[in-house]
Amino acid sequence: MIEISGLSKTFGLGANAFTALDDINVEIRQNEFFTLLGPSGCGKTTLLRSIAGFVDPTSGSLTIEGQDVLPLPPYARPVNTVFQNYALFPHMTVAQNIGFGLEMQDRPKAEIKQVVGEMLELVQMAPMADRMTSQISGGQQQRVALARALAPRPKVLLLDEPLSALDFKLRKEMQIELKRLQSETGITFVFVTHDQEEALTMSDRIAVMSSGRILQIGGPKDIYDHPAERFVADFIGDTNFLEATLQSVAGEVATVTLPSGKTVAARAVQGGGQSGAVTLAVRPEHAVLTKESGLLDGVLENIVYFGTDTHYHITLDGGSAFVVRKQNQPNTGEGFEVGDKVGVSFEAGVGQVLRD
């Protein structure tokens, strides 16, 4: 569908040069909800704008359905964008906004009218068709921006943090709405966000970006359970990092020795070494706390109650910190108290060896 290879973008020259995109290689599939996730300044918006045609990459190639689109101006590319601030035309009504793309394509009037009607239905804005865009709420503007971008039936819809301006509840609604629209229209969505939760709940696949590079591409579960790099593990969710020693690697299974001297099976990382010092990532909810000695031993330093779950902060023997998260059950006094000597364990294959 979209094939990007070796794509780089450098802004400025000489000492002021800034590399926004550094050798990006990614293939986005037909009818996929693909998310570019990363902190601000990681290059995700530059990548999106390169696809839209607003940024001229310094090198590399970008094809959509086999067609090289880099020489094409934005108006000749089969993609539409939902802008972060919506960018609705303030001098036009809701219906005129939605019909703008079709009008620019010189479609017949009857067809424009019909498609605009369908789009208004699709985003549930039909009663507002003749309002000016300043007379509707933020959430409604969001829907109009979506409808306007979907109306010309682009091959790809680009979404630039479209939910960031909405309040929490509306954002949750729109997340579900976006998923529905994507499956109903069958259009490939490329979605940019810095919100890891948004990325995990909506995406078919996620590309995690940092400093202009894609660090890891995978499904939400894959990315969350098996982060390949420290940055990914740290950026998405909470993680415990353990300094361990890699003994051997057999396929996906790595055998590591923990600081406590105990040995456990963990998941190997692609392209990692075969032995030596490594970092092991363990999610707080993947570990269990015991009163007996475990894989690791330590002292319970703090207990933080979060309603749905409780975080146990442990100082391991040797001084490093470790957090165990446990979902709260009704009427169970856990019986742990600050100052207790506790053990921490996790099952074989739960820990993830990171690429350093």
Binding site: A52, G53, F54, P73, P74, Y75, A76, V79, N80, T81, F83, N85, A87, L88, F89, P90, H91, F100, G101, M104, Q105, M132, T133, S134, Q135, R148, A149, P152
Partner: protein, 273 residues
Amino acid sequence: MAKSRAFDVRRQTGFVPIALLCFLVLYLPIILLVVYSFNKGESIAIWEGFSWQWYVKAWQNEKVQDATILSLIIATSASLIATSAAVMAALATTRTRGFRGYTFVFALINQPLMIPEIVTAVALLIFFAMIKVATGYTGLMYLIIAHSAFCIPFAYMPIRARLQGMDLNLEQAGADLYGTPWRVFRRVTLPQLWPGVLAGSMLAFVISLDDVVITEFVKSAGQDTLPTYMLGQMRRVITPEVNAISTALLAISVALVIAFYLLSKGGTQTNRE
């Protein structure tokens, strides 16, 4: 708000009297001018009772009529030409990537604001004289070209301000939705820009209507605009007819300034119904 009061300029000694004095100096002569335009007698300084006669006289004066028509022709043409040029200049200085010599171009556009008008006038006189000798043409175009030129910066300012305040994303959205650059300009940029264009053209119109120095230097024989006609009259006998014409000009200017204000105010709300 005790804190902000410490910096309140109205609390400075003498602020109110000085402000009042300034307004008095600015507006008292104008008020007197308007009042004496209704004078019954021939004097512009001795009040002899109310009458419309000077307005009637001015209205019936063929020379005033000719000068008025000429002024309107020149001001309208100059305003149209200057506004078109200003729109293009504003687009070039806000919608392009920063280019070498940007500051220089900016200074060039605003040149007529900074160079003494008398210099421009003399330069134009000499330049046009050369063309007159070469071509023998003595028509209105000299005045229209001269007025267009010095009106450009006045038309440029409000248009540029409007363009700078405009959301760049709108034009990108237009391009993203298959609009070619020209169609995006027609359907997205220009409707957004419209208040600025109107304001700029009105400003240019008033500036042209009011000009004396350059007109006086550039005009050929018999080409009197309203201001140069009035100047000519002042050299002979001053009657309240001049007051009447001035008052009429003042009324037009005030009307345009109010319209300008309303338009630029309406411009901050991006939406019209």
